[in-house]
């Protein structure tokens, strides 16, 4: 009994050691974001300041248009994710039922291709269509991220859902669409949630498309926070505050939807091989 207790405490200790770089990083990130310049420039570094600089957060919103960029991020991620679900969930269903290996292969190669290589041709296309300066190019190019991930997860999910009910429904005279809508879709809800969460996270975090396609008014948050670094007098407090604002929604989602994320990533992972 005591041996087992010791074992558990030992494992807990080992786990704490393993996650300490994660905890220390985020604590330091919060600390940086809540200190005035004087404290951030102090040596030896100060962890908990005497005066807390809440104003860093206010500054981010006041001086850097962050409300607009936050809204841009919400629009781009929201539209790209919803569109991907609308076309990707049925596609995953169709590919799984058709056992369309070649279609699945295209999806896999699309997931392996570096995002940058889609950027050159699509950038030119958007330029010719005179779309640059609106959010539309970013919404469209984020589909490169969201559609393959949704289709991929849904193929895997529909491969595991039973076909018998669907067959019974189609014998009873339901059309293909009714079978999908009334039988297959309700069962697939957990898979759709996983696909939704991962699509949101990967789209929200995307940086490379924005640095090329975004203009001053159409920046998403990752681009906005990067621009703070390159174009202004670098002050660490507001910069860390901005970085925290950018990544906080994703971190909160990760904490609440941990089970789905783990399921999605490992399912995708196992299928990826």
């Amino acid at each position: 009994m005591t041996h087992r207790m010791l074992n558990r405490i030992g494992l807990l200790f080992a786990a704490l050691v393993m996650i300490s770089p994660v905890i220390l990083f985020f604590i330091w990130m919060i600390s940086l974001s809540l200190k005035f310049e004087i404290d951030n420039g102090a040596y030896p570094p100060i962890l908990i300041p005497e005066r807390v600089a809440w104003s860093n957060y206010a500054k981010v919103f006041e001086e850097n248009n962050f409300l607009l960029y936050f809204w841009n991020s919400v629009l781009v991620t929201g539209a790209a994710t919803l569109l991907a679900l609308v076309i990707g969930v049925p596609a995953g269903y169709g590919i799984a039922r058709l056992k369309a290996e070649r279609a699945a292969m295209v999806i896999m190669i699309a997931r392996m291709t570096p995002g940058l290589s889609f950027l050159i041709p699509l950038f030119l296309l958007f330029q010719w269509m005179n779309l640059l300066g609106t959010l539309l190019p970013q919404i469209i190019i984020h589909l490169v991220v969201t559609v393959p991930i949704v289709v991929w997860i849904m193929i895997g999910y529909f491969e595991t859902t039973p076909k018998e009910l669907e067959e019974a429904a189609s014998i009873d005279g339901a059309t293909s669409w009714q079978v999908f809508r009334l039988v297959a879709l309700p069962i697939a809800k957990p898979g759709i949630v996983v696909a939704f969460i991962l699509a949101v996270i990967f789209s929200w975090n995307n940086f490379v498309f924005g640095i090329v396609l975004a203009s001053r008014e159409t920046r998403t948050l990752p681009v906005a926070v990067y621009n703070m670094l390159s174009f202004e007098q670098v002050s660490w407090g507001p910069l860390a505050a901005a970085a925290l604002i950018v990544t906080l929604p994703v971190l909160v989602l990760t904490m609440f939807a941990q089970k789905q994320i783990v399921a999605g990533l490992t399912a995708g992972a196992v299928k990826g091989g």
């Binding site: 807990l12 990083f25 050159i120 990544t247 990760t254 196992v270």
Partner: protein, 312 residues
Amino acid sequence: MASVTVDTSAADAVTAKGVKPPRLAPNYWPFVVPALVVIGAVIVFPWVFTLWMSVNSWTLGQEQEFIGLDNYIRLAGDMRFWESMWHTAIYTVLSVVAPLFLGTLAALVFDGQFPLRGFLRGVFVMPMMATPVAIALVWTMMFHPQLGVLNYLLSLVGIGAQEWIYNQSTVIPSLVLVETWQWTPLIMLIVLGGLAAVPREPYESAEIDGANAWQKFRYLTLPMIAPFLMIAVIIRSIDAVKSFDIIYAMTQGGPGTASETINIYLYNTAFAYYDIGYGSAMAVVFFVVIVALSFVLMMVRARTNWADMEDR
């Protein structure tokens, strides 16, 4: 339900004769078509268009001209390109090996039972979901040679100040440190999935035979999770080769070109110098490298599985 069973068996009989059953093959293609259209437009079209641009001399704002394979020939003699290939290779190998080692270790810990396990696993997973640019900016501040917290921590254990990402010889290891911090959790999750499928019985007999912990890991656990380690290597390699956000946000390929990987050089060529044709040729070569890499890794994986089966 009874009628269903009867009907399917009848259908099976028909299929066996080579005649398609009329009702039981619903048309699934309409479900796939919208996605095919979108994938054609945003994924396949860019692939084809990139190929075409790569055989043109094409700088933004100037006339384009068909030049055949000249861009590829130029690439073959471009020392900066070969240097970026070399950087990519080092970066990738380090960014696979370090997370693989640490992630497996973490998986072994998280496979056990201890208080707060679920919560701690959730915290451990956070870096890989966090926005890479935001993370990179904070690491940049931590790497600061004078004011950074890392040099302070090193000084506490008596190690002298480092220049981290500001020195040509330490920039890639420093970037790999960030990459490792961010992606070790993914390896942990994959290996954890492998450990969950490991049966208990062999361990019991090994204990009876007096095997120690290391022997149990080396001769029981490791062979059984080997396929999962291989999957982890494949996924991590493809991601590491493509890594862009962290490198670009922290060093933009610098100091000089010391951390310029293919992806960064490609970006600079196309969007800093607007040399679209040459950049496209680079994108094509990069694409081939990634496909070749995954092909090789999958071959190795197929071989390991085969060896596994022989062992049994």
